[in-house]
């Protein structure tokens, strides 16, 4: 397969975008990415979205967006993998260019969550409908069970969970597109409303509207355009049992371990070679577990690492979620995976402003669906 | 020999005390407790209903009987709070317990005596030689109108009895029934709560039928009250069954074990059946048990049981009624009770 690069990016602000429809936000992000890339056409497009049908009653999103972007008759495909929809959309774009089938592909993601649908019910469709959701469990509930088990097995503490939220808000306060741009304290996290013991409101990523898009192209196209191209070193994806109770271990995300192994191998790198990573912090515990399962910290030591600052921008051991993560940046489900790529694109181009990680050369994006039933990982390389 | 081969009972863990209800409506708690001889009643959890109660009771009946569920030829559930107006409670129960599919199922209704009707019909099927085993269940999650006298007693619970001919633990010697049209207590279709005729529910209804059936049963059997170790009657409150027993010639001591209403409340179709289960939990071989139920509308079913040697083998195989009455209780305040009993208008 030939080399693939990202040559442009664009996204909307994430938040409660009452005046904009799902079509409005996707087109805004897509046009911004196309302009940033400087391309005059795209060959194909992928639209990652978890559940436009349930959120706004609209399926067939590939066609809808190609129509509203004014790019028909190019092929346009809706990609779904719950919260990993964006990351998987990116992977599809990558594969299409890598295979030589296309030269320039748009990979976008979008979610419009505030139009009145039952968000809890809709998000729950990412879990096992008949044997988890039927029983009354919610998404915070599933991750809360992971948290309880992790705390029981490894001694991870309530304070360590809070440290993740505090760090992500600090990063997000420097991100102009973030939904929440204010810092929070550990006390605020630990006194916020309990959602599912031990997870409180400020341990949970918010409900958001938003869209993000990147332009993926071949090296040839990048050279012709003389663009700041960021190379995709590896793209890996893995699946695991849909139900949390079906996993080999409740405290290890098998799909993350599996995808990470493939990604490191493909890029011929090790965890210590990664300079920064955007990880899927749908809940604070998720960031902790993922940081272990990506190999950044020993199993069980993710909480301690977060609390001692090892994942902060300043510390430089392995800055996680410099964008603010899902927690502070927001989590319009389908857009998240693409937004992660955008953060890496900015960082590796030295354009991350106040969030810039010094000497950022290798970046990783880890996007995950449901309680870990799907995971997609990309490793990107700067110049 | 035909009779009960297995029995089981179930009471939810939740309770509300009579004084809590009294305080809610500005009544004198002590006067209520004295007058009705009620201390507390059972309240079904939000996830419990007549079907789940029946399943729990029937599970213990199967445990005690130790028979293959597929040999049960009929299952009847008597209740005045069947969860569906149209769809029998029994179909869910048989699938839960692995009974059937070659089984008769029907729901019975006759106010508080629907349970004993179910028991009687099950017994009759076995007696006629039609089938090897049949199960009759009485269970309810009855509602009392807020602020009404019946709110102190309307409770939840039930008991299940498997009738058969082998390894009988309590032989059924005699049965009878006494019925007449009496408008003492009723609920019209679509109404949330039942209505009743106040003091009319006493002598012209409850006492007339219990004493009527009881007297006729004693005559039929040519027995007298002194022959019995235990007596149990339908228990709408603490006072009525004691008075009924007295009128028929039974003593307080004979009624004591089965008189569980002060701690349970009135489980309607589960009332005397659960009282019977409480008796069977402690009965000894040779004991004679006299039971008369009552259902408004009105009617009474009478039974005379003789406990056999087999009883001691089965008593410990299931949960005992006294255990459920005395332990693992969760007391609710009125708000929680109103929420659980869906007495609060929701925005649906």
């Amino acid at each position: 397969m030939r080399d693939v690069v990202v040559i442009g990016a664009g996204m909307t602000k994430f938040g409660e975008l009452w005046s904009k429809s799902i079509k409005d936000i996707f087109v805004e992000a897509a046009l911004s990415a196309i302009e940033d890339a400087g391309v005059d056409h795209i060959d194909s497009m992928y639209v990652g979205a978890m559940s436009p049908g349930l959120f706004v009653g609209q399926e067939h999103l590939g066609a809808v967006m190609a129509d509203y972007l004014g790019v028909t008759p190019i092929p346009a495909t809706h990609v779904e993998s719950a919260c990993a929809s964006g990351g998987v959309a990116f992977r599809q774009a990558f594969l299409e260019v890598a295979s030589g089938a296309s030269e320039i592909v748009l990979a976008g993601g979008v979610e419009k969550m505030t139009d009145g649908a039952d968000v809890t019910d809709t998000l729950a469709t990412a879990a096992d409908q008949e044997y988890e959701v039927y029983q009354g469990i919610t998404f915070p509930g599933l991750y809360a069970m992971i948290a309880q088990a992790h705390m029981h097995q490894y001694g991870t503490t309530r304070e360590q969970l809070a440290a993740v939220a505090v760090k992500n808000h600090r990063n997000g306060s420097k991100n102009p597109n973030a939904q929440f741009r204010s810092e929070i304290s550990a006390e605020q996290v630990m006194s916020s409303t309990m959602v599912a013991d031990p997870l409180r409101l400020l341990d949970c990523s918010p409900v958001s509207d938003g869209a993000a898009a990147v332009i993926v192209a071949s090296m040839d196209v990048a050279r012709k355009l003389r663009k700041n191209a960021i190379r995709v070193l590896a793209s890996a994806q893995a699946s695991d049992t849909i139900a949390l109770h079906g996993r080999k271990s409740i405290t290890t995300l098998g799909s993350v371990v599996s995808a990470a192994k493939k990604a490191y191998k493909a890029a011929d790198l090790q965890p210590k070679d990664v300079d920064l990573a955007e990880v899927h912090d749908c809940f604070t515990i998720a960031e902790i577990v993922v940081s272990e399962d990506l190999g950044f910290f020993e199993k069980g030591k993710g909480g301690e690492a977060a609390a001692s600052g090892k994942t902060s921008i300043e510390c430089k051991i392995i800055p996680l979620n410099t964008s603010g993560g899902l927690k502070s940046k927001g989590h319009p489900v389908g857009a998240t995976g693409i937004a992660q790529i955008i953060e890496l694109f900015e960082q590796l181009n030295g354009k991350a402003g106040a969030r810039q990680v010094a000497d950022a050369h290798i970046g990783m994006a880890q996007n995950m669906g449901g309680s870990g039933a799907s995971c997609v990982i990309h490793i990107l390389e700067g110049k | 020999m035909i009779g009960i081969v297995g029995y089981g009972a179930y009471l939810p863990r939740y309770r509300i005390k009579a004084e809590v209800i009294a305080q809610q409506w500005g009544m004198d708690p002590e006067a209520i407790k004295r007058g009705l001889q009620l201390l507390e009643k059972t309240v079904p959890g939000q996830d419990e209903d007549t079907i789940t109660i029946s399943v729990a009771a029937a599970k213990d009946a199967l445990k005690r009987a130790q028979i293959d569920p597929k040999e049960i030829g009929a299952v009847y559930i008597g209740s005045e709070s069947h969860p569906y107006a149209v769809k029998p409670s029994g179909t869910i129960l048989i699938d839960a317990l692995g009974i059937g599919p070659y089984v008769h199922v029907a729901s019975y209704e006759f106010a508080c005596k629907a349970g004993t009707e179910a028991m009687y019909v099950s017994y009759s099927h076995v007696k006629s030689g039609e089938m090897k085993y049949a199960m009759g269940i009485g269970a309810d999650t009855s509602q009392g109108a807020p602020g009404d006298a019946l709110e102190y007693s309307a409770s939840a619970g039930g008991a299940a009895f498997i009738m058969g001919m082998e390894r009988v633990v309590a032989e059924i010697l005699f049965t009878n029934s006494y019925t007449s049209d009496t408008p003492d207590f009723w609920r019209r279709e679509g109404e949330n709560y039942p209505r009743h005729g106040g003091r009319f529910t006493g002598d012209p209804a409850y006492f007339k039928h219990i004493v009527g059936a009881g007297t006729a049963l004693l005559e039929k059997s040519k027995m007298s009250p002194g022959d019995f170790k235990y007596a149990v009657f339908h228990m709408p409150n603490g006072k009525f069954p004691q008075e009924a027993g007295k009128r028929l010639g039974f003593t307080k001591e004979q009624m004591e074990v089965g008189w569980i209403v002060p701690w349970m409340g009135n489980t309607y179709s589960g009332s005397s059946p659960t009282g019977l289960a409480a008796i069977l939990d402690v009965a000894k071989p040779g004991d004679l048990i006299f039971m008369v139920s009552f259902g408004s509308g009105a009617g009474s079913d009478g039974f005379i049981f003789r406990v056999t040697d087999e009883i001691t083998k089965v008593q410990d195989r299931g949960v005992k009624v006294r255990e459920m009455l005395d332990h693992h209780k969760i007391h609710l305040n009125y708000g929680e009770y109103a929420k659980y009993r869906r007495k609060i208008k929701l925005n649906e």
């Binding site: 044997y131 069970m145 309990m194 599912a196 949390l244 | -």
Partner: protein, 129 residues
């Protein structure tokens, strides 16, 4: 209306019927067409043991619409004595009294309803022993 979807799961929700792979002995709950372990396609029906241990749990305080009137309620992952794991609510329990490793058994309860006029849906919940 979830009538058919509900009806299909009755043997599992009411009687804990699982599929035991005739090839490798792995027990799948609910039953499957293909054994994930040995890819076998022949199974025998078995009933799960209804006692087990609480592996982890949480207390759901913000529920979906259907369960919003029942919060807070505990939910946990239970490993039944035959090794199969399931997710279930823990009924009649004070959340303060629960702990990982707690012994539980499964009971038959009403799990949800399909609205005011739809069907009633039953299944299993755990209670502490």
């Amino acid at each position: 209306m979830i009538t058919a979807r509900y009806h299909r799961e009755i043997p599992q929700r009411y009687r804990l019927e699982a599929g035991k792979c005739s090839g490798c002995g792995e027990v799948n709950f609910p039953p499957r067409v293909v054994c994930p372990k040995c890819k076998g396609k022949k199974f025998e029906t078995v009933r799960l043991n209804n006692e087990g241990t609480l592996l982890t749990y949480t207390v759901v305080r913000v529920g979906s619409d259907k369960f919003s009137k029942e919060t807070p309620f505990p939910v946990g992952i239970i490993e039944l004595n035959d090794g199969v794991r399931i997710t279930a609510q823990i009924a009649d329990a004070d959340p303060e009294d629960l702990k990982i490793g707690q012994k539980v058994k499964l009971v038959f309860r009403r799990i949800q309803e399909d609205g005011k006029s739809g069907i009633l849906c039953y299944g299993y919940k755990a209670v502490t022993v």
